[in-house]
Symmetry: C2
Subunit: 443 residues, 2 copies
């Protein structure tokens, strides 16, 4: 029953990045709101933002008990490259104990864990052990556009003691983990243009600075030969992590070989003075996510294209401000831009890095709930990903967040054939239920 | 009448590079063969090759007169980027004395000039002044695949005194020009692959050598900062052009400012010790024609793609052998390829450079025909383009070629909004007729 409901949820193609999927994102919001209503949640609302709607619901009858804000996102990443999926990306197929589909792990499966825990209490006990406010957004994968305004405008109504976000990973099926740091993000599009139209590469080859070549030269100039980002000043505000934290990370983090195996890579790359786990968590990075330029069809086409563009994203660590990094990037591009070439840089997403405070009773409650389910002590991990709301909750609303993950490193988040363990789904529901019960004991 | 026939010809989307257009290429061959039949040409045949068919026709009743082989190609370049065309690329629209459409100048309009000259004689005089063999191929834009085999297998039947090819340019509407050199071509596809699937750029950013970034780094390493090709040994076999030819080129060639204007570029680029005209004719070049890699849809997608590819084409000058250049390219890529990255290189097109012998009576006949039409002396130009048959005719069949052009530098060959001057079309028909008459006087 829970599984077939999750499959229905996963089958909805709620890709937030693509305007042509706008209607599907909205339909997914409606379905989720309807589902919360049936679950017994109250005050269910679909709240428009500048981009995609936020689904809100609450249940506030646990007098004198803490209030937990549950956050999740119902939007998903695009599915390209489609030909690398074994099933339709929105099949919701169940195979060998996993559910397959874009968003099955990130974040529909993990979001749904909490919804099913709520349902468990509401159906069996007719009430919840604590007060609950749910925020399920539809724009996380595009940098949570509109979320900051929503949080500011509803700061009073959203007041809570603690927030829980399940949009992170645990290293293995037996090892629970709470994430204590997230990298920030800055997504940019760089367009390079030159002569006014595509030209015959026979007639003009050798005398026109090909904008596509220039784009490649610019991208090549973004890293030095040691895998460090070559933008002047880029590392200036990076906070060095202390040796004790690095020692802890060495104990709990995945070894390089495991990270390589999870990535399906034969070789790792990057700053040699850091482990792979460190490079992807306490060190910033810059990824080229896509390039569009010139002819991409079948066969040859003898042209010098007039323009080319790249999608570029940074992951940032404390205290790198996205706005400052954007400024450094713009200055660098302008400084290396050759004559006769124009560059246009557009910001598409931005979120600050965050370190979560672990010194509060909610973290203890979460660890206890994890232990009741997994029969194992919780470890604390740094994550390379970004969840914009965590910094916003901490900075603007002063709400501490518990990042309680259930995805596995092999679930292939953002890639083809994304999947989610049904065993972790059930364990998640149990953990969430225990967590609410533990929270009810606080104060 | 001639114009509406040409418009019909231009409206056929005979894009040779794209398998999905195969049927359209074949239909165009059928239309052209049918048209030749109606014109009064004999022995009309559609001859299959490994790729697209060759249309053949002849008329061989001019006893004791020379035989002229007329070559043209009825295939066209792809039309991308479609959104930069003001009209449908296959509209054949007539505006302000020009016919618009992909292939209008390259090469349907120029091919049709000779067909209409033949028709003029056959309709008005019931005979031709010389013997004619026509070869119209459908794969020139993809490196004339299959043409070499056709020429070898039919060497005896194709024996001719001279060939004429109208697939080149004249600098202005009043200045006739015969092309005496063509660059060779080598078209390659370079695919770079790394880890086995697309990865989350948050989770793995900083520790995976992004294949798309590696492709950019390789492309950046293909030129030095002076615009010279950085592949070791690349210039070893380049023949230096003598000072007297360079002086002549300086007199007749377009100045840098004109070439920049024709290109729609504010700045030129490349080897400083050569003029723009020289850089595009007597110097080799390397153009990046297109890149495909990662996410190209709307909005952001936070991935490290697993592979990326580039379409790359060289233009070669005597005595650079395409096979040798391919070998040097492969060696260079393997030498700069980082650990954990795989490269796959595929040849898609190849043609040798050629210098046409100008010391024969056919060149004089062509100059004379040009003068009768344009009332101006012919100049001799080097071209940056490639026409594979010219080298094949000269080397294998020992047939000299006259490269008699009618396109203008502003016709935007291979780019959007390609067009062809109707005035040049009519002048071309006159010139072709005079040329046949002049040839009939030889021997």
């Amino acid at each position: 029953m829970f599984i077939s409901q999750l499959a229905t949820f996963v089958r909805m193609p709620s890709i937030s990045a693509q305007p042509k999927q706008q209607k599907n994102v909205e339909e997914c919001a409606v379905w989720l709101a309807d589902h919360l209503q049936k679950t017994g949640m109250e005050n269910v609302q679909i709240i428009p933002t500048e981009k995609h709607p936020i689904v809100y619901a609450d249940w506030l009858h646990a007098y004198n008990k803490p209030t937990l804000l549950i956050y999740g996102h119902y939007d998903v990443q695009p599915v390209d490259p489609l030909n690398e999926w074994k099933d339709d990306p929105f099949s919701g197929a169940i195979k060998n104990g996993y559910i397959y589909g874009r968003g099955s792990a990130d974040d529909k499966g993990q979001l749904f864990i909490h919804v099913k825990a709520l349902e468990y209490y509401l159906k069996n006990e007719n009430r919840l052990p604590i007060n609950i406010k749910c925020i399920f957004e539809g724009a996380e994968e595009i940098g949570s556009l509109g979320l900051d305004v929503f949080l500011q405008e509803n700061a009073m109504a959203l007041r809570s003691d603690v927030a829980v976000v399940s949009d992170t990973k645990i290293p293995t099926v037996t090892q629970p983990a709470i994430t204590y740091s997230l990298r920030g993000m800055l997504g940019l599009e760089l367009e390079v243009s030159g002569q006014k139209q595509d030209l015959h590469s026979g007639t003009f080859g050798g005398t026109i600075h090909n904008p596509l070549q220039v784009l490649c030269e610019m991208i090549a100039a973004m890293h030095d030969t040691n895998g460090r980002i070559a933008i002047p000043g880029f590392y200036n505000s990076v906070q060095q992590v202390g040796q004790s934290q690095r020692n802890y990370m060495k104990n709990v983090g995945q070894p390089d070989a495991t990270i390589a195996k999870d990535a399906g890579a034969t070789t790792l790359w990057g700053e040699k003075e850091y482990s792979a786990y460190e490079r992807t968590t306490i060190r910033p990075s810059l990824s080229i996510n896509g390039i569009k330029g010139g002819y991409q069809g079948d066969g040859p086409k003898a042209i010098i294209p007039s323009k080319a563009s790249a999608k570029i994203s940074f992951r940032l660590v404390p205290a790198q401000e996205p706005m400052m990094i954007e400024k450094l990037f713009r200055e660098y591009i302008m400084s290396i831009k050759p004559e006769g070439i124009n560059c246009n840089i557009r910001k598409v997403a931005s979120a600050k890095p965050v370190i979560v405070n672990l010194d509060n009773p909610y973290i203890k409650a979460a660890s206890s709930a994890y232990k009741d389910t997994f029969n194992n002590e919780t470890i604390f991990l740094a994550s390379g990903g970004t969840i914009p709301i965590v910094n916003l909750l901490q900075e603007s609303l002063k709400i501490p967040t518990v990042l309680m993950g259930f995805a596995l490193p092999t679930d292939n988040l953002h890639g083809p054939n994304e999947h989610f363990s049904l065993s972790n789904f059930y364990k998640g529901i149990l953990t969430s239920s225990y967590f609410m019960k533990e929270l009810s004991k606080i104060r």
